[in-house]
């Protein structure tokens, strides 16, 4: 019997090639879309799975409350790690890790920048790093040891062994390569290319002995079956106890690696909230929606064409088929179609996985031999086949043999209504996706284009490193002399990511019990004009003013904390015993969180040799030429360091990575769902015009015009799409209203978005079905009537 069913299925598919193609391709696109999402979800959920001790690894977080708001940071004091490892039972290792930073490596003429960290040697055990060369027990013994990643070693030494070789860092200090480790996979939180013993970093750095200075990360591995709640209890006020109550602003706790990707966000009460899991759920839902649309296509096309199978169903029943065997037959047919669609889907996945990886910045791989991938594909195929085939199977198997043999048309009633309902469902989902994509795009543009308070156009940044700080005035003059540079400023970190802050400032009138977090950026007098920050009160730093070594410039948000009108130039603020004069106040500008209102911050005089140089080029200059000239000056004054730069607006756009990711993926899937829906609509329109061929011919004979006939044929489908829009609008509005509440600065949802989406859906539908309507309208009526 099964052989009979398969033969019938394949022959039916071949007989109606056009409809079969629509069905197979539609389902294949749905399965391919769902599979790509599955690969991404698998990638996200398997983040850090390469670390064998994952379930026992934690990062130490610090909860700090300022001005009623609780912040959660990932930084701890320098002495923290070693103390907790000794004193808190259950902690196997506590590793100090510096922040990921670039370093210049030189081997002969080979100079490359690589990112890495300073870390305690136990990092090798905690992260179970795989050593390709060297000994994990001794690799971190000496301060001038360095461990390189496989990639870094290859870049520096080619295929030769790196062990025992010397590399120069930042053109000054030599390090001995004591080990080479296997590259960490892309779906891993850590991507360091080098590791240097932490004791090298801490040498001469007094702040690392300070319990009140949170400046390093602490990574912890607990013992097997350790009581983490107990550890957290002891850790909570550990710093307070170690400082005899002096340092109380920070409460520490362990945060598991297992939740770093899926959660790891905290609201302003310090309560954990969803992180990446939101997107995982969102895109899983979208995958199911796209699959549903594809399955609905199948159902609609199969039932619409049921007339063609009616006689067969009737005869099978006459010769003895039970309804059950007919249901099995049609389910079998849809499974055959689902299997063929899956094979086409696999081809589509292989074709599109590369551009998909480029879009999402990951390295997803399809492996049909991997049990999880095989299981997923099999499950999806079965689910689609059975679900999509269920309604047609029950619908077709219900045909009465007598009426089919007589050739009577099956009742249009309920079957036709269900089909219309399914088309409405398809288009509703598609229109919701379109509206959501437009709104996400608008929200991103709104925040990208809002007034940031500074001018990021024509601005490039380059690392302040090597000898640049020594020759800074000379470099600045030479840059200005090129004629392409307008302003040059330096700072210890990027204006977009001010990661240093303190609650230690006070001023006249401040509530002594209030704890207010103030961002801190060290800069010279050139930064404010280079970014075109607007002064609200007072003046900028001035290099010729000796007194400016104790001057600060603050932002408007800080100024209004001191005095309501913010006019505080000349006022004094203090940090412990140190006093600072407010030289000027700049208008608020956006930094760190691009969606929130600016928080209070201040500019302190630059006192570092390393940081960022910000170069504002003149309007109208040829940028490639300008960059060349800038490079010449920098390299001349800082030989041995390759020149690297970024545009500030590119760096700014990177802040929208997460939202861009959501927008790009939702655009892709909105497009796919529209394509699938259109395939279905095309098939139904073709079928409908086929069914009405006689009616169309008679109308033509009686005088109907081509345009009138096209309108008549299109009307039914346009009404369905219009109904879909009416249902989709409130759904999309509800979803996006909720999403937009995540952002302090967000757009208002305009009615024009709905109009545009609705019109787009209708126009696409019209374009899809008009070709069929046109074909039917211009057909020769006599031929049709004769054939009838």
């Amino acid at each position: 019997m099964i052989k009979n069913f398969i033969k019938t299925a394949l022959r039916n598919l071949w007989k109606t090639k056009g409809y079969s193609f629509l069905n197979i391709f539609g389902l294949a696109v749905g399965i391919a879309a769902a599979s790509l999402i599955f690969l991404w979800v698998e990638n996200q959920l398997s983040f850090n799975d390469n670390f064998a001790n994952k379930k026992d690894i934690y990062i130490v977080k610090s909860k700090q409350t300022y001005d009623g708001a609780t912040y959660v940071f990932e930084s701890t004091p320098g002495p923290f790690a070693q103390s907790v490892e000794k004193e808190i039972p259950g902690i196997k290792h506590a590793v100090r890790i510096s922040w990921n930073s670039p370093m210049l490596f030189s081997v002969g003429d080979n100079n490359i920048f690589q990112n890495g960290v300073y870390a305690d040697g136990s990092i090798a055990d905690v992260l179970s790093l795989a050593f390709l060369e060297g000994d994990r027990k001794t690799a971190f013994d000496q301060v001038n040891n360095i461990v390189l990643s496989e990639t870094a070693a290859k870049k520096l030494f080619g295929n030769r062994p790196a062990l025992g070789k010397t590399v120069k860092t930042n053109n000054s200090e030599p390090f001995i390569v004591t080990a080479v480790i296997k590259d960490l996979p892309k779906n891993s939180t850590y991507d360091f290319q080098w590791l240097i013993p932490f004791k090298k970093f801490e040498a001469g750095q007094d702040f690392l002995k300070n319990w009140g200075n949170n400046s390093v990360q602490t990574l912890v591995q607990v013992e097997d079956n350790a009581n983490v709640d107990q550890i957290n209890k002891q850790m909570m006020d550990f710093v307070k106890h170690k400082t005899n109550g002096e340092v109380t602003f920070s409460q520490n706790f362990l945060y598991p690696m297992e939740r770093w990707i899926t959660y790891n966000q905290f609201d302003n009460s310090g309560i954990e909230k969803e992180g990446g899991i939101k997107n995982i759920r969102l895109f899983t839902l979208i995958a199911w929606v796209v699959l549903l649309i594809a399955c609905i296509n199948f159902m609609n096309l199969a039932t619409a064409r049921s007339e063609k199978r009616a006689k067969e169903v009737g005869m099978r029943k006459v010769v003895g088929a039970s309804r059950k065997s007919l249901i099995m037959q049609f389910l079998g047919e849809s499974l055959v179609l689902a299997i063929i669609s899956s094979l086409v889907a696999i081809l589509l996945i292989y074709i599109f996985i590369r551009p998909f990886n480029t879009m999402i910045g990951q390295d997803l791989q399809v492996n049909l031999l991997a049990p999880s991938h095989l299981l997923f594909l099999t499950t999806i195929t079965l689910a689609c086949g059975l679900f999509a085939g269920s309604y047609p199977a029950f619908f077709l198997s219900a045909f009465k043999p007598l009426s089919t043999i007589k050739g009577a048309k099956q009742k249009a009633g309920s079957g036709s209504l269900v089909r219309k309902g399914l088309v409405i469902l398809q288009y509703t989902a598609s229109v919701v996706l379109i509206i959501c994509t437009i709104i996400i795009y608008q929200q991103i543009q709104h925040n990208k284009n809002r007034d940031l308070g500074f001018d990021k156009s024509q601005v490039l940044t380059t690392a302040l490193q090597g000898d640049m700080a020594k020759h800074l005035p000379l470099i600045k003059n030479q840059l200005l002399a090129t004629g392409v540079v307008q302003e040059v400023g330096v700072s210890d970190m990027s204006i977009l990511n001010i990661n240093s802050n303190t609650s230690g400032f006070s001023w006249d009138g401040k509530d002594p019990n209030a704890s207010i977090l103030i961002g801190m950026l060290r800069s010279d007098e050139g930064l404010i004009p280079a970014l075109d920050l607007k002064l609200f009160d007072g003046r900028n730093f001035h290099q010729n003013f000796a007194g400016d070594s104790t001057s600060v410039v603050i932002n408007e948000a800080f100024a209004k904390l001191i005095k309501k009108d913010g006019l505080v130039a000349g006022s004094i603020i203090s940090y412990g015993e140190e006093k600072f004069t407010i030289a000027g106040v700049v208008k608020n500008f956006v930094y760190n969180n691009v969606y929130a209102d600016p928080e209070p911050m201040l500019f302190l005089p630059m006192n570092r040799d390393n940081g960022i140089m910000t170069i504002k080029t003149k309007a109208g200059v040829d940028l490639p030429d300008a960059i060349q000239q800038i490079e010449k000056v920098i390299v001349k004054n800082n030989p041995g360091f390759p020149f690297d730069y970024k545009f500030l607006d590119d760096s700014f756009n990177n802040k929208f990575k997460a939202e861009l990711f959501v927008q790009q993926l939702s655009s892709v899937f909105a497009l796919m769902s529209i394509i699938i829906s259109c395939l279905g609509l095309f098939g139904l329109a073709a079928f409908a015009t086929e069914q009405r061929a006689k009616e169309i011919s008679i109308r033509k004979v009686l005088g109907a015009s081509v345009s009138g006939l096209i309108q008549m044929l299109n009307r039914e489908f346009v009404i369905l799409v219009a109904i879909s829009c009416i249902i989709a609008f409130p759904i999309a509005w509800m979803i996006m209203s909720k999403w937009l509440t995540n952002y302090a600065h967000h757009i208002d949802i305009s009615w024009t978005i709905f109009v545009i989406s609705g019109l787009t859906a209708i126009i696409i539908a019209l374009l899809t079905i008009s070709s069929q309507a046109f074909k039917a309208a211009i057909a020769n009526p006599t031929k049709t009537l004769r054939d009838q």
Binding site: K311, M315, R316, G320
Partner: protein, 230 residues
């Protein structure tokens, strides 16, 4: 021919109802068909002969009356019961052949055996026997669209008899055939009847009716005359 009734219909009423109209298709019908008999049912279009055939073949149900098939009351049988009875006991031959276009000649004839769970080897043997009998074996791998009308009807007859049914119901079996092909089909039916199969045939053709043992004439849903063939 046996004296036992294979079919006994008593006081049969059949109505067709729409929202506004009720039509009496069969009115207080009483007929019987003995085992091994060849009965022709004749009458003008719309007299109810095909309706009667469909009721006999359990493709349609009766509104009132009794239907004994081999002394079993089948009037109240549900679809499952009817389907079971039909597939084991009744073969059908239709005017428009009603072969399944996606299946070959062999597969069309095999179909009833598939639904009665006959093993594959046995199916092959029986199908080949029957195809030989109707002289269409040489076309066993062809599809219906590739056959002439007469050949298609021979295949339909083969399908009807492959399960060795006790009863064959033929609804104008020669209606779409020329006289030569028609005669061939009638000859086949006669041979089957001589071998013991009961046949009830609806026909407009007096010529075809002559092949039967008895002719039942109907008008307006009622039997108006029964004649025995000479």
């Amino acid at each position: 021919m046996s004296t036992k009734n294979m079919i006994k219909i008593t006081n049969l009423q059949k109505y067709y109802r729409t929202e506004e109209v009720e039509t009496v298709a069969l009115n207080n019908l009483n007929i019987h068909v003995k085992e091994g008999e060849f009965v022709a049912v004749m009458g003008p279009s719309g007299c109810g002969k095909s309706t009667l055939l469909n009721i006999i073949g359990l493709l349609d149900d009766l509104d009132e009356g009794s239907y004994l098939f081999n002394e079993i009351e089948v009037a109240k049988f549900k679809e499952r019961g009817r389907s079971d009875l039909r597939k084991h006991n009744i073969g059908f031959v239709f005017q428009s052949f009603n072969l399944i276009d996606e299946l070959t000649v062999f597969e069309n004839v095999e179909l009833p055996l598939v639904y009665t769970n006959v093993p594959a080897a046995e199916r092959k043997k029986r199908v080949e026997e029957v195809l030989e009998k109707v002289q269409i074996m040489h076309r066993r791998n062809h599809f219906p669209q590739q056959l002439s009308g007469g050949q298609q009807q021979r295949v339909a007859v083969a399908r009807a008899v492959v399960n060795n049914p006790k009863l064959i119901l033929a609804d104008e079996p020669t209606g779409n055939l020329d006289s030569n092909n028609g005669n061939e089909v009638m000859q086949l039916l006669t041979e089957l009847n001589e071998a013991g199969t009961t046949i009830v045939m609806v026909t407009h053709s007096e010529h075809d009716a002559k092949f039967s043992d008895r002719v039942i004439r109907m008008l307006d849903g009622q039997v108006i005359m029964e004649t025995t063939s000479v």
